[in-house]
Symmetry: C2
Subunit: 159 residues, 2 copies
């Protein structure tokens, strides 16, 4: 414990994260509407793509949403055939949730459509910086998913 003895940097990213996420979400909504998706759906799909084959409860934990609300979310996605619920053979109580091919395709389309939104929000960052940002966010959200043990650490361009 006691991992923060002294901190020369008071730099907390929380508020900035909140701020940028909001700005992104506002733009995403209008961009995603024609695709029949909402930002939260994208989040779920993204998580599923990163670590598919999870039960709904695990998903609830990852997304930190109430399990009862997960159901509705997945109902939406299943109705659009973007995900599939299959009973786990090991534990037949469990519904294993996985992205369908259609879902993966739609997710890609959505991400593509988000390019302009991202341009507006992350306009101050050049492509390399955005990629760095993506990698950091990705690592933070999955904890491990990204293999790539390469010391990427480009990022030093600033400062």
């Amino acid at each position: 414990m006691s991992a923060q003895p002294l901190d020369s940097s008071e730099h907390r990213s929380g508020a900035l994260l909140d701020h940028l996420a909001r700005r992104m979400r506002l733009r995403s909504e209008s961009v995603l509407a024609p695709l029949g998706l909402r930002p939260r759906h994208l989040v779920a799909l993204t998580v599923l793509r990163a670590g598919g084959g999870t039960g709904q409860q695990a998903l609830a934990t990852i997304l930190e949403m109430d399990s009862t609300n997960i159901v509705g979310l997945l109902n939406d996605l299943e109705a659009k055939q973007l995900i599939e619920r299959r009973r786990s053979p090991e534990d037949r109580r469990r519904h294993v949730v996985e992205l369908t091919d259609n879902g993966a395709k739609r997710l890609s389309e959505a991400e593509c459509a988000l390019a302009t939104a991202e341009d507006e929000v992350l306009g101050a960052l050049d492509p390399a910086e955005r990629e760095t940002l993506y990698k950091l966010l990705s690592r933070a959200s999955t904890g491990t998913a990204v293999n790539c043990t390469e010391a990427i650490c480009v990022a030093d361009d600033a400062c």
Copy 2:
């Protein structure tokens, strides 16, 4: 295998941003409650610290909130004496919003209190990576806001 055969960067940070912001916000709420603040207050304070002396309308633009809702937000902060509204001498219709000393202090306290929350959410990143993340987020959030005449020139610590 080939890691990324398709488009070099389909990598959209939107969903990840949303996801992490949510996780951070959930933790922030409980941490901030004893301080009488909520995540959105922190966002506002952070923005004000970065580019103080803005009118409320400009603030509404930056935060992308409706101006009528900004009022309530600022009322909260003013009631706690974390900000001050002063009439602009140039345009007396305008209320120039600025962080008070008390507000800056409280913001620092809050950020300090958020350390554990951030540890939980960004646990997969080491300090250097977190600093990189902070810098990227910071640049992104101040870089594209409203290029109005402001040009506050934050120029915070070091670097």
